[in-house]
């Protein structure tokens, strides 16, 4: 049972990492879109560079939601109801973005196309910011409490969001715009924008590419600075994470990999090796997410009511107290073992048709 729970923790991590790397580049492209695209041709070039793949990228988010629901239903229920308004706004941003992207090319007038551009940019920036903000709030800790409640004459142990002592008011009142969460949101935005820029550097040409590359270099510095700040703040908020990090020997290779990959991004940008820059940026993101997941294990959602959530989780949700039954985890593991390789195989073949070969179609497209 424990092995299954740990496997699912790792799988959720992998799915989130896939989402961050894949949808990250099209979200990032949307964020830097107004800064680098000067002409209508530039705009269409960027949109057609992400057009054939963005939707399939976003499916990783839906899969993350579904997998979290299936494997850790308690965490799914607590996180999404606890951060209600941010997640509703994320959904709103994803709607705006998709509508802007999908309907722009079909709009008859330049004015309507400009409005669609605007939706696409606001949605991309907003969704990324809110993802970061939600992530920051989860890492900082949610007011989760282990309680007993009565349902149909039975006393049930469950976890709910308690904003005050006696859980009479369950709506979330914690300050979402806490400075720590805000820094994580900023870091997320900068990181995703950089990732999007490396993707566009790889797929665009000419002056557009020059603008993208020079912006990418600036974002590289911003991201590095923000990462250091967030790292420092995390050790202040959760010193146990550093402890976890130090005792889990097997993650020692990850930090040097992150460092090398991240430096490679800049070197590759300077030398005009844009594919290398994109792949290095992808590895950096994978590394950072792997590092985070290994450090927080076995906690999924730390509770602010725990003295030390990472050492002694009483109210915090962990892979052990929030998971589905053994039977469900087993069935879903079989599903994942068949489904994920299948998806990756056809995704690889289809992406290869479009990869690095942007065409602006005369009709159709964006």
């Amino acid at each position: 049972m424990e092995a299954l729970q740990i496997t699912w923790f790792a799988l959720i991590g992998i799915i989130i990492a896939m989402y961050a790397v894949l949808d990250g580049f099209d979200l990032g492209a949307g964020m830097i879109y107004p800064f680098v695209a000067k002409t209508e041709e530039d705009r269409r070039y960027i949109l057609n560079a992400i057009g054939p793949v963005w939707d399939a990228n976003e499916v990783w988010l839906i899969l993350a939601g579904g997998a979290l629901f299936a494997a850790f239903p308690v965490a799914y229920a607590v996180v999404f109801s606890g951060l209600y308004i941010p997640f509703i706004l994320i959904l709103l941003m994803l709607i705006l973005r998709a509508i802007g992207l999908e309907y722009r090319g079909k709009m008859p007038t330049p004015f309507l196309k400009r409005i669609m551009d605007w939706l696409f940019v606001v949605g991309s920036v907003g969704a990324t910011f809110l993802f970061g903000l939600a992530l920051g709030n989860v890492i900082k800790g949610l007011p989760v409490k282990a309680v007993e409640k009565e349902l149909y004459g039975e006393v049930i142990k469950t976890y709910i969001i308690c904003a005050d002592k006696d859980c009479s008011y369950t709506g979330l009142m914690i300050n979402l715009f806490d400075p720590y969460a805000l820094f994580i949101a900023l870091l997320t935005m900068s990181f995703v924008a950089l990732h999007g820029a490396t993707y566009l550097a790889m797929t665009t040409r000419g002056e557009l590419r020059e603008r993208v590359v020079s912006l990418a270099k600036k974002l590289w510095v911003d991201t590095a600075v923000l990462y250091l700040i967030v790292h420092l703040l995390t050790t202040i908020y959760h010193p146990e994470l550093l402890h976890n990090f130090l005792i889990r020997m097997f993650i020692f290779p990850i930090p040097p990999i992150i460092l090398v990959a991240y430096i490679t991004v800049l070197v590759a940008l300077n030398r005009g090796k844009y594919s290398l820059a994109f792949w290095s940026s992808s590895i950096t993101i994978l590394g950072v997410i792997a590092l985070s997941f290994v450090s927080i294990y076995p906690v999924l959602v730390p509770s602010i009511y725990d003295q030390n959530p990472f050492k002694n989780p009483v109210n915090s949700l962990t892979v052990f107290n929030a998971s589905s039954s053994e039977h469900t985890l087993k069935i879903m593991l079989i599903v994942a073992a068949i489904g994920v390789p299948l998806v990756l195989t056809y995704k690889f073949f289809v992406y290869r048709i479009f990869w690095n070969k942007v065409k602006i179609p005369k009709e159709g497209g964006y």
Binding site: P52, G339, V343
Partner: protein, 468 residues
């Protein structure tokens, strides 16, 4: 207003809105796959060009629909967590799986290959292009399958046990098939095919009336009407079987849909208030003219007895597949008549859906008849009916889901969890805020969707250019 009611309003709003777009894509994806296959295999150049124009035009309309369907669908994936956290915690062990499976086996398939369909016609071979269209159709309909699996488990739960107040999976296969998935998926699949077919037939009829794009319109109309006729005739059989399944699993839903308060032997069916056909309800529900149809009063009393742990004899309940007595002593079965929704909602949504269904079978059969006689262009009235009918299958779908979901009340998972115990304990203000946000953006999206559809239809398919 209390937050459970607001959460229900929000779910009804977002789910119905999502369902304005989805059924068209279910049927239209299949029609597209057929058209692109004909295109890929046709030898004759002129016909090939015709199929290409058809494929391109319907693919554009499909894309507009698909985008609206996708963006509104993602909301639903997370709504179980945001608005129904207690539901998710109680039945997540079973209910989460179909949603995850849907993402992995359906959404990836349709989104990856839709990329090919929209961007790849000059980059891949015609055969692979047609294959991609089939993969989109498969993905779209697989996604409907897994959603129907999830919803059918809520309607007629099976393959689980209750432990510490939480439902746990006992048999995956039983939970997936349960008592109603095959019936309900077939019913939804055919409904999707009818919706897509009437969408294509209606727009083609519009061109036939306007005498524009004649060859294009005739070919599209013919294809759509044949598909629509077969599906709507089959739907009459499947709909009857689905009704039989409801009678065997959810007798209270049946009683509410028929407004039957008293138990009756050889019960008649009220076609409309005041017009009753003797014995027909017993025949339809149990395929037996003398069968006893249990009324709301008696059923509620029986459920109360089961909840209190009292013995209930075989005579007090119809012969059921999903026997409530297996949950003897569980307080979730304790319901009162005040807990029930107003019966006019299931009563009228049921009748609306059935009347529309019969209407679809009639006009598509008429359309087919005139296609065979080869004078469909002259049947102005029938063509006009087809144009007006474009939104009717969508209305029938929504009525069907209203019947299914309202008819399931007061439970969210039949017998084992009440709707009022499933919502997130959120302040009403937050839910109201989200309702306002979604209603606003949905209106804007809907207007854009409609505007784009009208614009693309008025523009029409591209005309053949000589030497092209």
């Amino acid at each position: 207003m209390d937050s459970v009611l607001l959460a229900r309003i929000q779910f009804a709003l977002t789910a119905m809105y999502h369902f304005l777009f989805v059924p068209i894509t279910l049927g239209l994806s299949l029609i597209l796959a057929i058209i692109w296959t004909k295109w890929a295999t046709e030898e004759d150049d002129e016909k090939r060009l015709l199929y290409e124009r058809m494929g391109k035009f319907w693919t554009t309309l499909f894309a507009i629909n698909f985008a609206a369907g996708v963006v509104t669908g993602i909301v639903l994936e997370f709504e179980f967590g945001t608005n129904w956290s207690e539901y998710s915690k109680t039945v997540g062990d079973i209910f989460g799986a179909p949603l995850a499976i849907e993402a992995i086996f359906a959404f990836f398939l349709e989104s990856v290959f839709l990329g090919v369909l929209l961007f790849g016609r000059d980059r891949v071979s015609p055969k692979f292009y047609a294959f991609s269209a089939w993969m989109v159709a498969l993905g779209t309909n697989l996604s409907a399958l897994w959603i129907l699996v999830a919803n059918s488990w809520q309607q007629t739960p099976k393959g689980f046990y209750l432990e510490n107040g939480v439902a746990r999976l006992k048999s995956f296969l039983e939970a997936v098939i349960n008592y109603s998935t095959p019936f309900r998926f077939s019913h939804m699949f055919l409904a999707g095919v009818i919706t897509g077919a009437f969408f294509v037939a209606g727009i083609s009829a519009y061109y036939l009336l306007k005498r524009r794009h004649l060859d294009f319109a005739k070919e599209s109309f013919k294809l759509a009407v044949i598909i629509g006729m077969v599906a709507s005739l089959l739907q009459i059989i499947v709909g009857d079987l689905h009704g039989y399944q409801v009678a065997k699993t959810q007798p209270l839903k049946l009683a509410m849909a028929e407004g039957k308060w008293e138990t009756e032997k050889g019960a008649g069916l009220e076609i409309l208030p005041g017009i009753e056909i003797p014995k027909l309800l017993s025949i339809l529900a149990y395929h037996d003219p003398e069968a006893k149809v249990y009324g709301i009063h008696d059923l509620v009393k029986v459920y109360q007895k089961i909840a209190k742990g009292e013995e209930v004899s075989d005579d007090e309940l119809p012969h059921l597949w999903l026997d409530p007595r297996q949950f003897k002593g569980r307080e979730s079965l304790y319901i009162t008549e005040e807990d029930l929704p107003p019966t006019w909602i299931p009563f009228w949504s049921f009748r609306g859906m059935v009347f529309l269904g019969v209407f679809f079978a009639l006009i598509s059969s008429l359309g087919f008849f005139y296609i065979l006689r080869n004078d469909i262009e002259k049947r102005k009235l029938l063509l006009r009916l087809f144009v007006i009918s474009i939104p009717l299958p969508i209305i029938a779908n929504i009525l069907g889901w209203v019947l299914a979901e309202v008819g399931r009340q007061p439970w969210v998972v039949y017998y084992i969890l009440k709707t009022k115990d499933a919502a997130s304990p959120l302040p009403a203000g937050q839910i109201l805020t989200s309702i306002i946000i979604f209603s606003t953006i949905y209106w804007i999206v809907f207007l854009m969707f409609l505007g784009l559809m009208v614009y693309k239809v008025k523009k029409g398919p591209e005309e053949t250019t000589v030497g092209g």
